[in-house]
């Protein structure tokens, strides 16, 4: 992404940007500039925060509505949405996401190892194809997958989980293959001397060292399935198997809208994603982490 840097300065990149500017008496102009920068950023921050506030306020408000207003505090909404069908739909979402992440991670560990360590004909072409697949919009596969699932009586939670796992597989494979490329080959050679089988080598040598990338792939697949809306909407026919987002969608459209319950349930439903995202960004301090963006 940054190929042009080399021509400018070979020493760039690694060194931190904050050159501790000990410039002579920073002028009024400079102070005004920093005021503008911070002011603009604060304004953008407020604009981004404004829609978000509603969900927090409404979730604890006795008189919740669609509008943002200072809440008259209650925990009744949270009590209401942590039992009955609400809880069932959350458990369904969890099961769906566990199936999806297991399918994609196990397949990607085996396949990633083969692509990273073994001689695979057309490996480069395969990797490009895989990168390419990550760009295909999911919504489009719904019609053919629905048609096939309906024919084989597979319109249920488990088969939908497998489908969602496959949807995440290309990127998981990409992550894990790249992570395994960085594992020194010497580690495996010692194990091979000891007559360890390929599966043993993968399990006891490669996987532990490549764990950060495997972990990232697992969380990526989990988050994807957790957030999925259209696939569970179309591919799960049994009402007792519906997932969190479908439950909320049903509530929004109902005749008697329970604003507070919707907000509280959406908060609970969204929380795991936020936690997992923070966990995922820990092992990588690269561009795609929150830390990286915030530290500048």
């Amino acid at each position: 992404m940054t190929q042009s840097i080399a021509t400018y300065s070979p020493s760039a990149g690694a060194q931190p940007r904050a050159d501790a500017v000990p410039e002579e008496a920073s002028s009024a102009a400079e102070r005004r500039e920093s005021l503008i920068v911070n002011g603009l950023l604060a304004l953008l921050g407020i604009l981004f925060l404004a829609p978000l506030l509603w969900i927090f306020f409404a979730s604890v408000d006795v008189n919740a509505s669609w509008a943002l207003s200072w809440p008259r505090f209650t925990l009744a909404h949270f009590r209401e949405v942590t039992r009955g069908d609400f809880l069932v739909s959350l458990v369904n979402t969890l099961l769906l996401s566990l199936v999806a992440s297991a399918v994609s991670t196990v397949a990607a560990i085996l396949g990633g190892y083969a692509l990273s360590r073994r001689r695979v004909p057309l490996a480069d072409g395969l990797m490009v194809t895989i990168l390419f697949l990550t760009g295909i919009p999911l919504a489009i596969m719904i019609v053919p997958v629905f048609q096939v699932y309906a024919q084989f009586n597979l319109l249920n939670l488990w088969a939908t989980g497998v489908f969602l796992g496959v949807c995440s597989l290309p990127f998981a494979l990409w992550l894990i293959k790249t992570g395994m490329d960085a594992v020194p080959k010497e580690l495996e050679e010692a194990a091979r001397m000891e007559q360890a089988s390929v599966l043993q080598i993968i399990l006891y040598v490669t996987v532990p060292v490549a764990l950060p990338s495997i972990f990232a792939a697992l969380i990526y697949s989990f988050i994807n399935a957790w957030g999925a809306f259209l696939p569970p909407l179309v591919l799960i026919s049994d009402q007792s198997q519906i997932t969190g987002p479908i439950k909320i969608y049903g509530l929004i459209g109902s005749s008697d809208v329970r604003y507070g319950d919707i907000a509280a349930f959406s908060l609970i439903y969204s929380l795991p994603v936020v936690i997992l995202y923070i966990l995922m960004s820990r092992p990588f301090s690269g561009g795609f982490s929150m830390g990286g963006a915030v530290k500048g």
């Binding site: 920068v37 001689r119 809306f229």
Partner: protein, 293 residues
């Protein structure tokens, strides 16, 4: 040791790749190809042609070119992607990335966190938040003093704003990484020459991070093309057909009106559009990787 593993194409590698290949063929590549076949059949959701459908050749294609709703939907898709992804998300993401680079530490931590949270929220939550924000009786309508239904009055504008809100964080992260890689010496040299900050940004920073910007635009376009849930939950494609972008029109035809074949064909159009952008993305990321090496 290395030798005998690397030399001959081995069965072990094939076995290891087998689960991946089976899964991808059965539930990814297969469905995409199957959709192209279904798109040329008369298959329906219910009724006699649900099971006994057959190939109808160019029939659906003829219907497609004469379907004014399709052309309208294609136009709306272009507007949605261009306005929200190419312009909105990229510009807002860039503004955030630049401002965050120069702002005080606590402010960039707080704003960075808000924007990233907006990005990683599940699609349903983002759509719900924006529905509450813009529908009758929502925050925006009350700000106007009246019971104005902002979402119904400016549907496309509001869903574009929602998409920008929900995706700008991604753009910010990508562009921040690009900005960090710009050597400060270059920028300082520019400042020494007496160029204004704006000049330095336009004629030094932008050209240097141009590959990052291109990558970012392609990725955000793909993300927005696939963004069925946001619009579907907020407007269902309406009011009328005001936000009926192709993924939604395809869903409607297939699973609401039961015309699975025609719905599949509409989906194929999206696949073709996405393919072009995905192809460009692969090309660009390959070129930059080769140049970096």
């Amino acid at each position: 040791m290395e030798g005998d593993v690397a030399e001959k194409p081995d069965g072990v590698a094939f076995l290891l790749l087998l689960p991946t290949l089976i899964l991808l063929l059965a539930l990814f590549v297969g469905p995409v190809l199957y959709a192209f076949y279904l798109g040329l059949t008369n298959i329906a959701l219910m009724g006699p042609t649900a099971r006994h459908f057959h190939f109808t050749g160019m029939f659906n294609l003829h219907r497609l070119v004469r379907d004014s709703l399709f052309w309208e939907s294609l136009k709306l898709t272009a507007i949605f992607v261009a306005a929200s992804a190419i312009v909105g998300v990229t510009v807002v993401g860039m503004a955030l990335a630049v401002l965050i680079q120069h702002a005080v530490a606590w402010l960039r931590a707080v704003v960075g966190a808000i924007v990233v949270v907006a990005w990683m929220l599940p699609p349903l939550t983002a759509a719900l938040i924006w529905y509450a924000f813009s529908t009758t009786g929502g925050t925006l309508s009350l700000l106007g003093g009246s019971q104005l239904d902002v979402l119904n009055t400016f549907p496309m504008f509001v869903v574009c704003l929602a998409n920008i809100w929900a995706t700008a964080g991604f753009s910010m992260l990508v562009l921040s990484a690009g900005l960090r890689s710009v050597p400060t010496e270059v920028l300082e040299a520019g400042r020494m020459e007496g160029a204004s900050r704006w000049r330095v940004f336009c004629s030094l920073t932008l050209p240097i991070i141009q590959p990052t910007i291109v990558t970012n635009i392609l990725l955000v376009t793909l993300l927005s093309l696939a963004n069925f849930s946001l619009i579907y939950i907020m407007t269902g494609g309406g009011p009328g057909n005001a936000t009926n972008i192709l993924p939604i029109y395809s869903y409607q035809q297939a699973l609401v009106f039961g015309k699975l074949g025609y719905g599949a064909l509409l989906g194929d159009v999206v696949v073709i559009i996405a393919t072009i952008f995905a192809y460009l993305y692969v090309r660009v990321s390959r070129i930059t990787r080769m140049a970096a090496a």
